[in-house]
């Protein structure tokens, strides 16, 4: 292991705390697993301590989603969610599906995956805040502002828990004035619910070779803004998805516009990270999208109130790793549970958390000590979640093979003719190997931001309220310091400057007028794109000090 990897001063004793279950990440997956475990324990009058840690300064601070939510899994978890005041306030009333050309918007019939009757437009951040209250009410301990920095192992190789990161480390890695060592959290089961491209999940997948036999995971980056629009243009419950312009047809991606409550509209843009042209900038594609003649009027006279970005897993079941290992399991988007054609993962996250909780609890009942392997694979295969993901499995890779037009055509064929039961399964490739050299690709000219509808990166990150304690070592670690210039700049014109939605990476000149990569780690919004897309996987995203990162409101 990279000796610097755990963001730790290596020479201090750490306090240890014992729990039955540790859950890393207070997203929908982690919180649902916690609630389900305590529900089962309460029903069976079985003692069971469940602890959730969250790297955001509070629950919801790092949650960014669309989001149109299918409440099916939530209803299984908390059947009276309505009476309990769950923040699902805006039922979807209208679905539109647009194909954009530069000047036109053509309404297409919404494909069945995009029908949203019975679904709600929500803020997933607010839903998590509500889930956290429900969890505390059934006896879960939640600690926000503490990041899981290191996986701990027993001598037999099983997972023993995690250590939280140290606080108050100086730039050179030495303990600063208010240094506070992390703590070791020991448990018989550790569930990793870190969301897409979890940093500890990545390590566990390697330690237990969980990806053997699975397709590589493929990802997208989603960039989102929250707007307050003119009341006259606001149609609560309206959902719009679009394909086409401004993306070239070889790129998988598109936009969403969701009209929430209080005159708010969530606008998001998703770009598949298997794109090949290093000149592409997902951030600028998103800005440009808002200028489309059919889209722009919605934002005129409005104001942007928040901004953020997050990667999402697009691999579907082909890319699911083995889910459990001695001492723990992966849940939610850490494992890759997301239905791509529906761009919905929150219900999958809740369901997978519940299934893992049920598997773990059964073992707690039968096995009184030692690490537990909460293997929920069989239960998953018997569930609606498997059926849903299995049906959707060929749609995303069809776009990778045949581009937009072929992808849409194939989707129609697969959906209407085979109903997801086509006798073949398409496969995925690694996103980071896809870039072509900059010299072989057309440069893309993006319009300059106007400061009203389109913006630059810095004024955008400002709205994510991102902050990191200044004095700590950068949490974006380069394995080899020479690669950014010698390889990435030379071949791809430093694509990290364009794919990072927060302006973290910047090529600047040294005093000798040599190019150098500057890392503005304080701006990082924890989207994980660099960890995914860096061509030689030279960038390693590790957790910064707990509480650092964006402070999203209702994203």
């Amino acid at each position: 292991m990279d000796p610097r990897h755990p963001n730790h001063f290596q020479h201090t004793e750490r306090e240890a705390m014992e729990f039955d279950v540790i859950i890393v990440g207070a997203g929908p997956a982690g919180l649902s697993a916690a609630i389900r475990l305590r529900q089962l324990a309460n029903e069976a009058e079985h003692e069971l301590s469940v602890c959730v840690i969250e790297k955001g300064s509070e629950v919801g601070a790092h949650i960014l989603s669309g989001a149109v939510m299918d409440p099916c899994a939530l209803s299984e978890l908390i059947s009276d969610w309505k009476a309990q005041g769950a923040p699902l306030n805006t039922p979807v009333t209208r679905d539109e599906f647009l194909f954009l050309t530069e000047s036109k918007a053509i309404k297409l019939p919404a494909p069945p995956q995009m029908h949203n009757e019975g679904n709600y437009i929500i803020s997933l951040g607010n839903l998590c805040r509500w889930l956290a209250e429900q969890a505390e009410a059934v006896g879960v301990e939640i600690f926000a502002g503490f990041a899981g920095a290191q996986v701990l192992y027993h001598e037999d190789g099983s997972v023993k828990g995690v250590a939280t990161g140290d606080m108050g480390i100086a730039k050179d890695g030495s303990p600063g004035h208010n240094y506070e060592p992390g703590v070791e959290l020991h448990a018989r089961v550790t569930l990793f619910g870190e969301g897409c491209r979890g940093s500890l999940s990545k390590e566990v997948m390697e330690s237990f070779k969980l990806r053997e036999g699975a397709d590589p995971q493929t990802y997208g980056i989603g960039i989102k803004e929250l707007w307050e629009v003119d009341a006259a243009k606001h149609k609560p419950g309206k959902v719009i998805h679009s394909l086409g312009w401004p993306l070239e047809h070889s790129i998988y991606g598109g936009a969403f516009l969701y009209h929430l409550e209080n005159n708010q509209v969530a606008v998001g843009f998703v770009v598949g990270l298997d794109y090949q042209n290093p000149w592409l900038s997902p951030f600028e594609e998103m800005q440009r999208f808002k200028l489309h003649p059919a889209i722009r009027p919605l934002f005129e006279g409005g104001r942007r109130v928040s901004y953020g970005a997050r990667a999402l897993s697009e691999g579907g079941i082909q890319s699911l790793p083995k889910l459990a290992f001695p001492g723990g399991a992966l849940i939610g988007d850490s494992a890759g549970f997301l239905n791509v054609p529906r761009i919905k993962g929150s219900h999958c996250a809740i369901k997978s958390g519940m299934l893992a909780a049920e598997a773990a609890f059964e073992q707690f009942r039968s096995q009184s000590e030692g690490a537990i392997t909460p293997d929920y694979t069989e239960a998953l295969k018997a569930s609606w979640l498997w059926k849903e993901l299995h049906q959707a499995r060929n749609l995303r890779p069809a776009f990778a093979r045949w581009g937009l037009v072929g992808g849409v055509a194939y989707s129609a064929l697969d959906t209407y003719l085979f109903r997801g039961k086509a006798p073949w399964t398409f496969h995925h490739h690694d996103d980071h190997t896809q870039l072509k050299s900059a010299a072989d690709c057309p440069k893309i000219d993006y319009p300059k931001p106007d400061g009203k509808i389109t913006f630059d990166r810095l004024s955008s990150v400002f709205l994510s309220a991102a902050n990191h304690e200044e004095s700590q070592p950068a949490h974006l670690r380069l394995k080899d310091e020479s690669v950014p210039v010698a390889h990435n700049l030379k071949l791809y014109q430093a694509p990290e400057q364009r794919y990072c939605p927060a302006g973290v990476y910047e090529i600047v000149a040294t005093e000798q007028d040599e190019p150098r990569l500057q890392i503005n780690a304080q701006n990082c919004v924890h989207c994980k794109t660099c960890d995914i897309k860096d061509p030689t996987q030279n960038i390693n995203w590790v957790v910064p000090e707990g509480g650092g990162g964006p402070n999203y409101p209702n994203m």
Binding site: E15, E141, V183
Partner: protein, 249 residues
């Protein structure tokens, strides 16, 4: 000696606030809240005095909505022994806060009462001074160093252009400045323990103080938007622009 520390729940310093739709204040829905940074410094100072053996008990108090209990739990996790919550959902201005705190001082008889010099939401910088006046205690504001010596406390104050050291007779009120200390991080085990420490809830009416405003807030507006800079091609152009457009020379 007992120390009373007052803490306030405010919008987190990292959040970029925006004016709400009807210009009556800043938007608070879905916004991250935290303990006022100057209050954190006050808690830290009190806890350090306890660790040094100068103080025997640290009591944290807040006046605010139900959710302000989160900030009291933070104070307890940082080392306060018990907490008092004077609960009100109303907006409370400095004088009301000072009057409420005076009733707590009356009941608790602390040797030192430490507050932040101001809260970063309203920036009033009044409560500590008003509390000193109401209780007749000595006051040391903008403290960057505090040294307790038997029944006296020496307070170094940050004043314009330098430092001033004054000596107060206890009991006294101190308000903290930025450089007094660097607050610690709450430890996870201490956050767990803090959940079990005593927290008393009281209402302003129990304390005989009316929560009423003497000030009327007329309007809250965002500052005028800054115009973006431009690049000029030459010195002549610069001079021309400064003369004829900006009219500063």
């Amino acid at each position: 000696m007992k120390i009373l520390v007052a803490v306030k729940r405010v919008v987190d310093a990292n959040v970029k606030v925006r004016v709400n739709g009807d210009n009556t204040g800043v938007e608070l829905a879905n916004v991250k809240m935290a303990m006022n940074p100057f209050c954190e410094i006050a808690v830290e100072e009190a806890v350090r005095l306890k660790e040094k053996g100068v103080a025997s008990e640290v009591v944290a108090v807040t006046i605010g909505p139900k959710a302000a209990q989160e900030q009291l739990r933070t104070a307890l996790a940082l080392g306060a022994d018990r907490a008092i919550h004077i609960q009100t959902e109303e907006h409370v201005e400095s004088l009301v806060v000072a009057k409420l705190l005076a009733t707590v001082v009356e009941a608790e008889q602390p040797g030192l009462t430490i507050l932040g010099k101001q809260a970063i939401d309203t920036d009033n910088n009044q409560t500590g001074q008003m509390l000193a006046a109401l209780t007749g205690m000595a006051q040391g504001t903008f403290a960057s160093e505090v040294k307790v010596d038997n029944d006296k406390v020496a307070v170094t104050r940050e004043i314009d252009g330098g430092l001033q050291t004054i000596e107060l007779i206890l009991p006294a009120v101190i308000t903290t400045d930025l450089r007094l200390n660097e607050p610690r991080y709450a430890k996870l085990p201490d956050i767990m323990k803090a959940k079990k420490k005593p927290l008393d809830v009281k209402w302003p009416t129990d304390l005989g103080v009316a929560v009423q405003s003497k000030l009327t807030l007329l309007k809250v507006e965002s500052p005028a938007e800054r115009k973006g800079g431009i690049k000029v091609g030459s010195v002549d152009e610069l001079v021309d622009k400064l003369k004829n457009e900006a009219k500063v020379i």
